[in-house]
Symmetry: C2
Subunit: 191 residues, 2 copies
DNA sequence: TAAATACAGAACAGTTTGTTTTGTAACAAA
DNA sequence: TTTGTTACAAAACAAACTGTTCTGTATTTA
C-alpha cells in the first residue's frame, strides 16, 4: 500500500477516535474529522464514502480481532459449574478488553456506547454459538436455543457495560464469576 | 391549554411518529417534521427547542405511562417458582405493550430501537427496584444487588427486543415464562 | 371590544454535505 | 533518470439543514 494512503488512513482513524473520546458520534461532522486529521476534503471522500463507512471500518478493526482471537481458543470446559472462571472465554475477553488497545474501553463506555455495543454484540453471538450451540449444550435446555443465544450474548455485553460504567472497580475474574453465576443455572438442566 | 397549541403539538407528534415508522431518527430532519406536520418553521421552534427535546417528550408520553401503571400493581408473589407466570408484572408489561398504543411496538422494533430501548430500560430499572430490591429479595443472593438489578432489567428489555424481532410469534405468557426461567434460578439461593 | 397569544411566511447567516475542477507532489516501474 | 500513475490539496459549488428574526394575520381570552 502506498505510504501516502496508509498515512492518510491512519490520520483519519486517529482523528476519528480522538473526536469520539470527546464527542458523541452524531455530533461529529466530516468537517471535524477533516480539520482534526488535517487533510483535504477530497482526500477524506477518496478514502471513505461516508462517515458511516468510516465507523464500520473502525468497528471491524476493533472487534473482529478480539472476537477472532477468542474464537481461536481451544473449546473445552468453559464453564465447569464448580465455580472456577479461569477457563472461561469470557474471562479471556475481559482481560483482552482491559488491555484497552486503541482506547476501545473509551468507546464502549462513552455516549457512543450503543453504536459499538451493537457491533460487539453481533460479533459476540457468533462466539456464543461456536462455544455453546455448536456443542449441543443448549439443545436440551427448557428454552428455545435462539432465545438462549441471544440471552447469553446480551447478558455478557450488558455485564461489560455495567463493568465499565463502574470504572472497572471489580477484577475481570470477579466479573466473570458474576456473569457465569447468571447463566450457568439456566444450563444445568441437562444434568 | 389553547386549542391552537394543542392542535399543533399533536400534529407534530403525529408527524414525528409517522416519520419514525419509516426512517431512522437520525435521518429525520426538523424540516421533515415541519413539512409532514404542515406547520410553520417558527411554530415548531416555539414548541420544541430541538429535535432531541421532541424525542424526549415523546418517550415520556410513551413509557412513563406504561411503567407507572405497572408500578401501581399490587406487590406480591410475582415469581412463584412453581412456574406460573400469571401474576408477573412482566406479563402485564408485555400485554400492555401488545396493545400497541401510539405504535410503540413499531418504535421499539425499528432501527430507532436503541433510542427507545435505552429510555425503556432506565424506567424499567425503577420498576425492578420497587418489585425486587425494595422487598429485600436481592439481598442475600450471591451477587451484588446493583449487578442483579441491571441484569434483570437488561434481560427483560432484551427479551422484548427479541420478541419483537421475531414478529411476536410467541404469546406474552410464553415469553414471560422464558424470561422468568432465566432469572428465577439466580434468585433461588435465598432458599 | 381590546389585549394577548399562536401562528404563517419569508428572509437571514451560518454550517454541513458531497462533488467537481485544477494543479502539485509522491510514487513505482522502465 | 525519466515516464506514467496515483494521492493529495485547494478552491469553488449547489443543495440542504439549522435556528433566529421580522412582519402580518387569525384566534383566543378577559
Amino acid at each position: 500500500m502506498d505510504r501516502r494512503q496508509k498515512k492518510t488512513r491512519e490520520a483519519i482513524f486517529k482523528a476519528f477516535t480522538e473526536l469520539l473520546s470527546k464527542k458523541n458520534y452524531h455530533q461529529i461532522s466530516v468537517q471535524d474529522i477533516i480539520d482534526t486529521a488535517d487533510i483535504g476534503r477530497t482526500t477524506f471522500y477518496a478514502h471513505f464514502e461516508t462517515k458511516e463507512y468510516l465507523l464500520k471500518e473502525l468497528c471491524e478493526e476493533l472487534f473482529d480481532h478480539i472476537i477472532d482471537t477468542a474464537m481461536g481458543l481451544p473449546h473445552g470446559h468453559y464453564h465447569c459449574s464448580c465455580g472456577s472462571a479461569e477457563d472461561s472465554v469470557f474471562l479471556h475477553l475481559l482481560r483482552h478488553l482491559q488491555e484497552n488497545d486503541h482506547n476501545i474501553l473509551g468507546l464502549l463506555s462513552s455516549e457512543n456506547n450503543e453504536i459499538f455495543i451493537r457491533y460487539f454484540k453481533s460479533n459476540l453471538k457468533k462466539l456464543v454459538i461456536s462455544q455453546y450451540a455448536e456443542n449441543g449444550k443448549l439443545k436440551d435446555a427448557a428454552l428455545p436455543e435462539e432465545y438462549l443465544i441471544n440471552h447469553i450474548s446480551s447478558s455478557f455485553v450488558e455485564t461489560v457495560s455495567w463493568w465499565l460504567s463502574h470504572k472497572r472497580r471489580e477484577t475481570p475474574e470477579a466479573v466473570t464469576t458474576y456473569f457465569l453465576a447468571t447463566i450457568e443455572p439456566i444450563l444445568q438442566e441437562r444434568g
